[in-house]
């Protein structure tokens, strides 16, 4: 593949240009944006979006595998965050490319059986990324996080704001690693005063092309539900999620933001609108069964996810609306219908995509 070789001039640290100085300089020549996890759904699509923007001078795509499509402005560097020397390698790239903004998207979108590897990638990998960002004096860091980290509890308010603690089950590595990653980025924000750190907590992403644990759940003919429970769910459309990352790159909006679509839907309605059949199971039985299936690597989500089928975990997008100017184009219902229309084609094998 014709990826450009990394340039061989790793300068130790960038010439000390102050934060504001760097800002004006980068505005004049166009921003350089590094995407860690460029092979992911969000990463590859975001690279495509940035490619179109004349204010972006260069896109640095970092991942274990190069992205499928690569624009003129994109430079690809192989990077494996699970490698113990990833921080040195990333720091070299960030310094030599004079990166202005680092977008960290290297997170699993579905739970993995390889918990140890996932921990290395998400938790330790974010540490590497932040060490490198500090060393290279990157001005802006944008992190992908998710609203499921708030956890599903019967004591949740109907709309969780960004001030609410992340109460997802920490014994579940899928949640714990992401919470640790957020803490790592917060630490970076505290230690580097001139930096702009944006954490975007997206609701479960839904759309015609995205693949994650949720699309897997909704692509089965029969969706298991918990008998007697009908929590409210909330999604965000994949285009809106990408738009939020673009906004965070374009504007300086430090802080944590919930990226959600308007409106909520009860789970029963979600399943019916997706054209599926709900299979209610008493939750003690379901928890035992899914735990056994997960241990046997037959289930596609661990039993901790069943809580989201019982209690609500819906976030309030007011702050992103007011501060970021984020305007979701799709409501929760429209995002679901958009997914369902593509899924219907996949069901009859008119659309072929690898399953996540």
């Amino acid at each position: 593949m014709g990826t450009s070789a990394p340039p061989q001039h790793p300068t130790p640290t960038r010439a000390a240009d102050g934060a504001s100085d760097g800002l004006t300089a980068s505005r004049a020549r166009g921003q350089v944006v590094a995407i860690v996890g460029a092979g992911s759904f969000l990463g590859s699509n975001l690279a495509g979006l940035l490619e179109e923007d004349p204010r972006i001078r260069r896109i640095i795509a970092l991942d274990t595998e190069p992205p499928q499509a690569r624009g003129d402005k994109t430079r690809v560097y192989p990077l494996d965050l699970t490698d113990p020397k990833a921080d040195v390698r990333l720091s070299e790239v960030l310094t030599s490319e004079r990166v202005d903004a680092l977008v960290h998207l290297a997170f699993l979108s579905s739970p993995s059986f390889a918990a140890a590897w996932a921990h290395e990638l998400e938790s330790v990998g974010t540490m590497h990324a932040m060490v490198a960002a500090r060393h290279a004096q990157v001005r802006k860091v944008v992190l992908w996080s998710q609203t499921i980290l708030y956890g599903a509890h019967p004591t949740n308010p109907n709309f969780l704001t960004e001030r609410h603690p992340l109460r997802a089950n920490r014994r579940e590595p899928f949640f714990a690693d992401k919470v640790e990653a957020e803490a790592e980025v917060q630490r970076f924000a505290d230690r580097s005063p001139g930096s702009v750190v944006t954490i975007l907590r997206t609701a479960p992403i839904l759309g015609p092309t995205v693949q994650n644990y949720l699309t897997r759940y909704l692509s089965r003919r029969v969706c298991p539900t918990m008998m007697g429970f009908d929590p409210l769910w909330q999604f965000v459309h994949e285009i809106d999620a990408l738009a939020a990352f673009k906004l965070a790159i374009d504007r300086d909006v430090p802080g944590v933001f919930n990226i959600v679509a308007d409106g909520v839907l009860p789970l029963s309605t979600v399943i019916k609108l997706a054209g599926r059949v709900a299979m209610p199971i008493p939750h003690p039985i379901a928890e035992t069964a899914i735990a056994a299936l997960w241990m046997a690597q037959l289930a596609y989500a661990p039993p901790t996810f069943l809580k989201y089928l019982r209690f609500l975990s819906v976030a309030d997008g007011r702050k992103a609306w007011d501060t970021m100017g984020f305007r979701p184009a799709y409501t929760t219902r429209e995002a679901l219908l958009d997914f369902a229309s593509a899924q219907r084609l996949r069901d009859v094998h008119l659309l072929h995509e690898p399953t996540a």
Binding site: P154, T155, P157, N158, F159, T161, P208, T209, R221, M226, M227, G228, F229, D230, P231, L232, G263, V264, L265, P266, S268, T269, K272, L273, G275, R276, V277, H283, F311, R333, S341, A342, L345, V348, H349, L350, L351, H352, E353
Partner: protein, 391 residues
Amino acid sequence: MTPTPDDIRDDRDDLDDGPESISPNVVDGDPSRPYRADADAESESDVAPRSRAPLTEAEVAAKIRTLEERLDSMIGKREAGEGSAPRPPPPRFASVRALPTEPESTVFDTARELLSTEFYLRKWGRLGMRNRSEEVDDFGRDPVYERRVEPFFDFLYDRYFRVECEGIGNIPAEGRCLLVANHSGTLPYDGMMIKTAVKREHPQQREVRWLAEDFIFHFPFLGSFTNRIGAVRACQENAERLLAQEQLTAVFPEGVKGIGKLFSKRYQLQRFGRGGFIKLALRSRTPIIPVAVVGAEETNPMLLRIDYLSHALGIPYIPVTPTFPLLGPLGLLPLPTKWRILFGDRVSWEQYGPEAADDEMLVGRLAEQVRGSIQTMLDRSVKQRASVWLG
């Protein structure tokens, strides 16, 4: 061979794979199955392999010829019934050549559709939605579902509890307002009855959202049911949001202590939480209407309360009423007492600013004041009442 829509589709799939293939958009002459066009719009991965193989001029010419043939046979329908067309097209279009005639196709299509599981799944989905609306509000209230269960509440209101209302005019025609009521009766019917009362008696037929205890939402069925008919989990954030939407909101500051009190303590208001509702009213500058519900205390008179074991079940207590454990679940049916709901005068604290919410002393005093006015209304109404059953 019997030509069927599926055959056509299979052929299309074949075509799609071959590099020398004819674009499916062109092959798709059957107007009743236009899904190829959709697929193109939806998928980029689908487009990629096709654009890879550019067609030569000869191939295009061949394609046009076959198309013309098909158009002839379709428009004219001259030889539609015959198995063989005058000019036999290439073998791969075998199914296209013998397009079924109109009546045949409908019969086959209908039969095929009826035999497919897809049909029943779709029907099932539609049936499932017939009692539910496709959109709910922020807190999950489902208007269609609500309308369906309305007769049940009307029955309770008219016939069973024979509710009488007093002072309904104190509720403003619009704008936010906080209804503060006493809580009683082991099972929380009072929220639903206040809602029904305002809906039926108030000239504007206003909707009441009431804040329900946490333990209801731990429960299967009960939680989702109360949520659909308009209850919201009681917490400061939810109440603030409801009032910001200018809703009429009912709160029961006694909480579980209110519904869980013994029969001997009936109509004695319990402590009003920590005055959260006062802080809420002060902060959002919302007027308060004290509400007294008389009659609910006797629906399920609780003689004894069992607190242990209940935690394992996720409920605050296990009630012992004259009927409950004895008659099983039937014992939880409320007794047909006569109810009265009294809406007091509106209280608004215009003289205090939002910062007064931080003054604990003031909050305590105001809470006590509201509690006193509800207690007075309760005492008066209970004294006036001649019989628990007939009012």
